[in-house]
């Protein structure tokens, strides 16, 4: 079976830096939510940007539906692969509606402008991300949680079957963290291939199909949440101050704990 999105032997180093990503092989299937976790500087965000085609790997390559990703023109790539960034460099002074319409860039003909089907896609995306009631609000007025959901809505408007999501819960309270992951899990169940990069192993535990643990630019573990979120796997990466437990439904959780080391 051809993977939706596959990294083959990816290497990337920033200028004058140690290798951010060194020799990662990782394939993403349609219908799965793959969560990449790892400590700060483990190469998570770099890996996401490589998967998105925003960085060019120094060695190895990314394949989209079996074909090389870097051979696709930008518009074609954007129709098949959408990115939800962690934050924007500058918040545009537009309404939520106009902002989400930018997700249609790769679909809209320069001379015809946005058509009814584009506006339908925007409406559907706003509804799916549960931000329809914000559509006429200016982007600069939104709370962190609202902004995150609007960023997801813009990626949904892109109607790409593959979704790459960077730290979607970094600025969110507990309730909104759940809501965002619930939405991403639903998108995966609907058949999309969703890759999420996050610090939050516990959300990964509840929602991920598979978890990938990245450590110093290498894949340290890959498997179901129960396989990866274990002391033997996490302690070499995060150190000994960890407390493990089990949620009512049997999923593992892990907390940072300053208690006496074992």
């Amino acid at each position: 079976m051809v993977s939706a999105l596959a990294a083959e032997g990816l290497h990337f180093a920033y200028e004058g830096d140690v290798h951010a990503v060194q020799g990662v092989d990782l394939a993403l299937q349609d219908g799965e939510l793959l969560v990449v976790v790892g400590p700060n500087g483990s190469g998570k965000s770099t890996l996401l940007r490589l998967f998105a085609g925003l960085l060019a790997p120094q060695r190895g390559q990314v394949r989209l539906d079996g074909g090389p990703l870097d051979a696709l023109p930008p518009r074609e790539r954007a129709r098949r692969l959408a990115v939800v960034p962690q934050a924007l460099a500058t918040l545009p002074e537009t309404t939520v509606q106009a902002f989400v319409l930018a997700g249609r860039y790769a679909h809209i003909d320069r001379w015809r402008g946005a058509t009814a089907s584009d506006h339908d896609a925007v409406r559907a995306a706003l509804a799916a991300a549960e931000v329809s009631e914000l559509s006429s609000r200016p982007m600069t007025d939104l709370s962190g949680g609202q902004r995150q959901r609007v960023l997801v809505a813009r990626a949904l408007a892109q109607q790409a079957p593959r979704l790459l999501v960077d730290e979607p819960t970094a600025a969110l309270d507990l309730y909104h963290q759940l809501r965002v992951f619930d939405l991403l899990a639903r998108l995966a169940r609907e058949g999309r291939a969703v890759l999420v990069v996050t610090h939050d192993a516990n959300l990964a535990s509840q929602f991920a199909t598979r978890v990938a643990l990245l450590h110093e630019g290498r894949l340290a573990a890959l498997g179901s949440p129960a396989q990866v979120l274990r002391r033997e796997v996490l302690e070499p990466v995060y150190g000994p101050h960890l407390h493990f437990g089990t949620l009512p439904d049997g999923a593992p959780f892990v907390l940072p704990w300053m208690g006496p080391p074992r």
């Binding site: 940007r49 998105a52 085609g53 925003l54 023109p73 930008p74 518009r75 074609e76 790539r77 954007a78 129709r79 959408a82 990115v83 960034p85 924007l88 460099a89 500058t90 918040l91 545009p92 002074e93 537009t94 930018a102 997700g103 860039y105 790769a106 320069r110 001379w111 200016p138 600069t140 007025d141 892109q158």
Partner: protein, 355 residues
């Protein structure tokens, strides 16, 4: 959050009404006195080859003023459009053709061409060139495009240039170019013909403009305008960040190339017919954003339109007030634009202080 802003369509309409009125005012303003509307109309028609010329000096006076007015409006539009494009490209409200040294680059290119034509360069080049009317503006364009490309290169991959970095870059580029221009002027000081041609280019003038001046600037402007539909939405998307725009499917490298070429062409066309006129490219896009709109689809054409009205208005106003002691356009614009630039800098104090 919202201050009341003019709808872009209304601002466009106001400017479209203002431009012909300013043209008529400009045509009836001058040392030789004014004319009534029907005389003006017949004179303009005759100048365009659609009617008999007016008797005496009237026809000559109207034609001189017509080419001057059309050139001035075109120069204002071209500089303002160039400024709006550069501000979008570098995501920096202080970018403009003169601040970045683009107009100086055009001057240097043109100066080198004048030297070549004056016999200082390869003789073959001067023979091939035939007329200075093509070679000099073309060399000016190359100079302008060279400077914009240089700034793009120095700006690095991210594309966004902070205010302090932009000012320092502009300062460095302008200093280098001024040095080179001064060196060339010093070397050819003895050759009166070449010196005069270079001086005319460097300081510029809107006096004694002929049809080819108006044609040159409007042709450059037209080509630059043709680029607008290919970059307007893209520049809006770039404002949120280079990577974000790429993820949405924007071919950012191509957008940058088109903007570099269009802004250089517009600036060079303006410099080719009027010399360096500072600040139009800074002030006008800023006013459009302040009064009405930020989205480039409206900002770019409105900036061009406002630039035409603005320079034509200022030029006519100072001719009406000062008569035959009217200032060169570059000087007049500096008097208006210098304080405006200072004000802009003060409003960016915080960004400068934290740097």
């Amino acid at each position: 959050m919202s201050r009341r802003r003019l709808p872009p369509a209304l601002l466009g309409l106001l400017l479209l009404v203002a431009l012909p009125l300013l043209l008529v005012w400009s045509l009836s303003t001058g040392v030789a006195g004014g004319h009534d509307l029907s005389t003006l109309l017949r004179g303009v028609l005759a100048a365009l080859g659609a009617g008999p010329p007016l008797p005496g000096t009237t026809q000559t006076i109207i034609e001189l003023r017509l080419w001057r007015a059309l050139t001035t409006a075109g120069v204002g539009a071209a500089l303002s459009l160039s400024g709006a494009l550069l501000q979008g490209l570098f995501r920096n409200p202080l970018a403009s053709p003169s601040v970045l040294g683009v107009t100086s680059g055009a001057s240097l290119g043109a100066t080198l061409a004048i030297l070549a034509l004056g016999g200082y360069g390869p003789l073959l080049l001067s023979v091939l060139a035939g007329g200075a009317s093509v070679l000099v503006p073309a060399a000016g364009f190359l100079g302008a495009a060279g400077i914009v490309s240089l700034v793009v290169l120095l700006a690095g991959a991210g594309g966004r240039v902070s205010v302090p970095a932009l000012l320092l870059l502009g300062l460095a580029v302008n200093t280098c170019l001024a040095g080179l221009l001064a060196l060339i002027s010093a070397l050819v000081l003895a050759d009166w013909e070449v010196s005069r041609a270079i001086l005319a280019w460097t300081f510029g003038s809107l006096d004694d403009r002929a049809p080819q001046h108006a044609l040159t600037v409007w042709a450059g402007l037209a080509v630059a305008c043709a680029a607008v539909p290919f970059v307007a939405w893209e520049l809006d998307l770039l404002a949120a960040g280079e990577e974000d725009a790429r993820a949405l499917g924007v071919h950012t490298a191509r957008v940058r190339r088109i903007v570099v070429l269009a802004s250089s062409l517009a600036a060079a066309a303006a410099v080719a017919v009027s010399g360096q006129i500072a600040f139009v490219g800074l002030v006008c896009p800023h006013l459009v954003r302040l009064l009405s709109v930020r989205s480039h689809k409206a900002l770019l054409p409105l900036s061009a339109l406002l630039g035409a009205c603005f320079l034509l208005g200022i030029d006519t106003l100072q001719r009406a007030l000062l008569g035959d002691r009217a200032l060169p356009p570059g000087v007049a614009m500096s008097l208006v634009g210098g304080p405006f630039f200072l004000g802009l800098l003060l409003s960016h104090r915080r960004e400068l202080d934290t740097w």
